[in-house]
Amino acid sequence: MDIEPIRQTLDSEIQPVKTLQELEALRVKYLGRKGTIAQLTGSIPALAPQDRGPFGRQVNDLKNRALSLFEEKQKQISAGPQEESRWSLDISLPGIAQELGHKHPLTQVIEEICGMFKRMGFSIVDGNEVETEYSNFTGLNIPLEHPSREAFDTFYISLPPTKEGKLLLRSQTSTVQIRAMKSQKPPLAVVAPGRVYRPDAVDASHSFMFHQIEGFIVDENITFSDLKGTLEFFAKGIFGQDIKMRFRPHFFPFTEPSAEVDISCIICRGKGCSVCGRKGWLEILGSGMIHPNVFKNVGYDAGKYTGFAFGMGVERIAMLKYGINDIRLFFENDLRFLKQF
């Protein structure tokens, strides 16, 4: 009996098979208990003894070939598309999952900034919003009757004054300096994000409530160099390694020397545009070495410890980072706005 035509038929029959059902039928035809190959094997004893060996080998080869063809075909079909699901599912329908909510952009900026400082070893601390005149002003070396207080116009609470002066809504997160230093001894490295309040008329760039992040570090041997290095690490982490930075002398009552920190404009890369007021620089934070009077007020030895502090407006940084042009958008909570973040 000639094996070759059977082999060819097998090859041509298996080739067009598309489904597992068809394949199974074919497998039964060839490899089943009463299939072609079983019949061939069954015919061996009827052959002349000298033909049995070669024929047996040929049948065996055919069987092996069939097994490998079927295996290969099965793999091929399983990997391919399931024909029936193509018409039973409209894959252009919306997917099924719980839609995620959107984190407020201010929260995202606060988390990103605090994350940078956390990696440097700062602790994140939360402070009270209702504060005393002492923590908001006097302790921070801002005398009661001084023009520098004007920059920190303040909401007062309708309650009798405490022994630390009138109660108010903090106008800056620097209050945390006083609270933290009064309760802990150096070394200290703290970052405190939070809400602050100033009675400003609301417009595109002013809000009576906004967010600041205060940070400070106190230890022996902390220098202005450390201030520069820390803030450079932070700014490059947030705004990109290729930004340029400059530290400008400035005045804050609670730090000396003080510096305002500018980065090269992230919109025009320093060439001058409407965002940076044609200056090429964007002011992002205020900073300085903590004033010895502040140390005196919290009972630290100014002869032993030095430290630096910095503060930044979260809305301003978020506006720069995302190109937002109106501060009111942060508090309107328009979902069309929030869902962009």
Binding site: L89, D226, F247, F251, P257, M289, N333
Partner: protein
Amino acid sequence: MKVTYNWLKEFVEIKISPASLAEKLTMAGLEVKSIEEKDGDFIFEIEITSNRPDWLSVFGVAREVAAVTGRKLKKQKSHKALKPAIKNPQQFSIVIEDKKDCFVYTTKIIRDVKVGQSPNWLKKRLELVGLRSVNNVVDITNYVLFELGEPLHAFDMDRMNPHSIIVRRAKNNESLVSIDGEARRLSSDILVIADKEKPVAVAGVMGGKDTEVTQNTKNVLLEAAIFDPVVVRRGRQRLGMTSEASYRFERGIDPLIVEIASLRTVALIKESAGGEFVSAETSPVPKRAQTRINLKENSIKRHLGIQVPQSEVKRILTSLGFEVKSKTKDSGLVGAPSWRQDVKAEIDLLEEIARIYGYDKIPTTLPSVFLRSQKEQEKDYFAIIRETLLGLGLTEAITYSLIDRKELEGFWDNRGGLVEIANPLSREQESLRPTLMPGLCRAVAYNLRQQQPYVHIFEIAKTYSKSENKIQEKYSIGIALCGTKTRWFGPEAGHVQDEAGFLHLKGMSDVLFQLLGIDNRRYCFAGADEVQVYASGQKVGLFKRLSRGVLDRLDIKRKEVFAAEIYLEDKLLPLAHMKKRFNPLLVPRYPGIARDLTLQLRQEVSLEDILTAAAAPNEALLTAVDFKDDYRRDKVPAGFKRITIACQYCSPERTLTEEEVAPVHERIVKILLERFQAEIC
């Protein structure tokens, strides 16, 4: 403040362009906000920090220009030789009631001046710095104010009692019409300049209309003085006004500039308005000792992190007008100039050194790493809770902490517990909010107006209340849900419309409680529109269905809003823990049997009632009764509902047979049917 490039050049030689000068000044702490080219000059708008009143003049800025460009100030013409023609013509006297209010008061009298238009150069220069020309005498006083930083005032002498000047507090019933034409009511916290009868000027703030110099003025009384900063500040705040003069007095005046400025003004008036300088009076000037500060060399390294050579330190300080004397090898004694009343301690000198040396030349280093404090744990909970709520499909809102009391109606009725603002700008800022709900509901209303089909938002923020004058500020979680969210469940099931309601709030808080390891929780209705949330026996939160009245106020039509508030900091965090512990897996050794049971019951019967009743007989084989479905969509008679429960039967000893389970199940069914007058469906 505005100064011009050419004006500066009168005091110091400038060899660099206006742009590079602006850069140098900015990097020395005088931030140049803008440069404007006009009429052949450049106007610099400079932001002067409140600690440096000595920069509030052209001369003061020129001193800084000299220091940062390494040049010397030009020698100015001295007017010291200018002497009054007659000494004390009519026994003129200056009376200062309280020396604390007025450090020094000087007068110069010039007779027979010709008041008229100012010369063009003067008009033009004042215009460049933003001043309107009045007449030659007034313009000159303004010119010298801008040039030297000493405010001056010229009175029409013939409009006042000419024999005396009294510096005193105003009486409570006095008033004065100031030069700007406003009638000002005075009071005892306002310092005035008066003659024998009446006030003629608000000291350090503004002169009186009645005695101002006009075209008709013949004889001029020129005032140059120093008033107490705090008194000037309070006075002008009380009057609700400000002026170039008050701005400078509030910040402090160089005591040595008073006489120089006064004589310079006399000279300029004589030059352009003629007249005769007839008299000069000065109140006794208190002695003020020069501030001397010990500067240690190692302080520079300690604060700035750099070494600056002694010679460089000396050069910097000298260029700024300080006197430097070496005391020992590594310390010096530094005397501050009269115009630097801001310099009081060594740290002030270090700032000067750093500023002029150049912040940009100080290298960058990183401080050594600190150990974290433990308080952070709390914040981590906040982050975990926030991420979970986001995962539940809520979007984070940030709403104002201040609120209009009216907005609290329907949310909060403890008026006494409100923390109120003493000086709000508007009603929307009159109180600190005691609850997050109104702000979130306002955001819901806002978004509905923007045609949003549904609004599901949350906020984690503080709420504020007071009891017995003690203020509590505590973080809460607020949630507001409104509207239908459509979800797809495949082509056969179609879509499911999820109408937000109490069960959604319950589901979300269940997720939170599970996350925080709080097992023991209960939800109870308190009235039809409020659900109270309890955990471990304490009230930890509140759900609300907004009343029609509140919805109307928010202008929400045909929608319901559900809000939740969970007292996070106060109640939840003390119960929270995220400790995990492995419990060995219990594999049921013998398979159990489940029997479903659908009951039609009266609406007021709760699932909890049914589950409790089913469990009550303590049937040994019944291992669990679970809720399976709530057939709200089926046709159920009014006042009834259908609930399907699944009863699980299992034995630890053998595989149960149907025959064993059937009588047990029947007993339970019987109990439920009798107890609730239910029907099997």
